[in-house]
Amino acid sequence: MSSDAEGSTGAAVGSRTGGDTILSIDDVHVSYGKVQALNGVDLDIGTGELISVIGPNGAGKSTLANSISGFLPYDGSITYKGEEIDESDPEDLVERGLIQCTEKRDLFGFMSVEDNLDLGTYVRGDYDERLEFVYDLFPTLEERKDQHAHTMSGGEQQMLAIGRALMSDPELLVLDEPTLGLAPVILDDISEGIDRIQEEGVTILLCEQNVTFAMNHADRINLLENGEVVRQGPPSELRDDDYIRESYLGG
């Protein structure tokens, strides 16, 4: 609430492109024993925005995603749709439209594609309406609707994981490393999918190691290193940033 007026580092650097703030992260710290994974992260996301968190392995991207989704305890405060969610279970957040698609995908391996999608509507989302959207987005899933999830390729599993998350009719979709280990052909499908999800009005937090991919999609970028946001701003600005060019865009 205070971040708009006082301005965290982020608000000062990058002007917000979205509507009302849907998620506000304020001074969040997470540690695994003695290891500090997040060290005072501030971040605001406006409704309808696509914000990307980039950074190397171990920077804390997944930790941030899991803190937001209620899987990890943290110090500091995270506000979703105007309410503190520090005490919320992941399942309660799903009910309120905060859906995560994890790096490991966490699919139901011995279930068919369609059953996986069906379970996406366990607490929210209209099955018929969402299924039409998901199949339209990723036609491969419809072709393979009776196939068991664990028998599919990595790219298809990624589509299914995103599809299952979309079945829950997300308001805020947290995508953790959706491009990890995917072939370039599949990357195009996922890329197109993300564009269309955003067109639907879904707010997206994209945690991504593939900086080029993130730059192509995000309204604003946050570079996370060692648990701290070290750069914030729109892609156009950060492309010219010497440090980012040298370290992440290959000079």
Binding site: D89, K104, D106, L107, F108, G109, D118, R164
Partner: protein
Amino acid sequence: MASILSVALTIIVQAAMISALYALIAIGFTLIFGVGGVLNLAHGATITMGAFSAYYAGQFGLGIPGAVLASVTIPALFAGLLYLGMVKRLEEEPIMVMITTLVVSVVIEQAIVVFEGTTSRSLPRLIEGQFHIAGSTFQNLLGVMFVVSWIIIGLLFLFVNYTKTGKGILAVSMSHKGASLVGIKSSRINLITWIIAGAFAGIAGLFLGSWLTADFAMGQAQLVLSFSIVVVGGIGSIRGSVIGAYLIGFLEIATTNLISSSLQGLAPLVVLVVVLLVKPEGLFGREFAE
């Protein structure tokens, strides 16, 4: 020649009926493990509790309907409370769950010893009479046991595969995190599986006690049996449990009829050792209720 056929028929029919009950017992055990990842060593004692619930209902003059009702609800309630009161807090530590449930099972057995002593008790007979197949005679009770067990197994199958909560059970059994990601609360699903397993054990106790007798230690052999069946069938698989139950049931009845009745209880262990040597993941691996 006729007598060989008749012995074979007796073995097949008897084994088919008893194995259905074994399947019912093992499914409850495997459901809890497959979904929650913990072993309920009080499963046998829950069966005993079902038998004695029916016994007390009979003592209070509640008749057969009262006995049936008591044998289902009391163990189901007990299992639910056991989950909420103890297991839920220890879920991250499966060894602690084993120890706790083992202690609970000893407590139940000792409580029965205190109130009823160690002598066997007769339960209200669910159904009298006999039926004949090709000249062999069987108790009607075993027939009812067979039919009821299969109806219950069938209903569970439908519940798990075709209802929302049932699919939630499958989901949790495959991925706890995946379940959370779609909003399924694992603890609620676990509670449901404990209640189902408790009810199944209670019904099994009613049948076992009504067929034979009830005593404080009657559940011990059933726990060993459940364990063997579930390992043979593949831990966490309903279909595997049914097949494991039939495999062990047939072997047991064949052994006791053809070799010696003193060897009862050996069959499960022999099958267990063979399966562990040849196919340690069980006949149906770890997939749940395919």
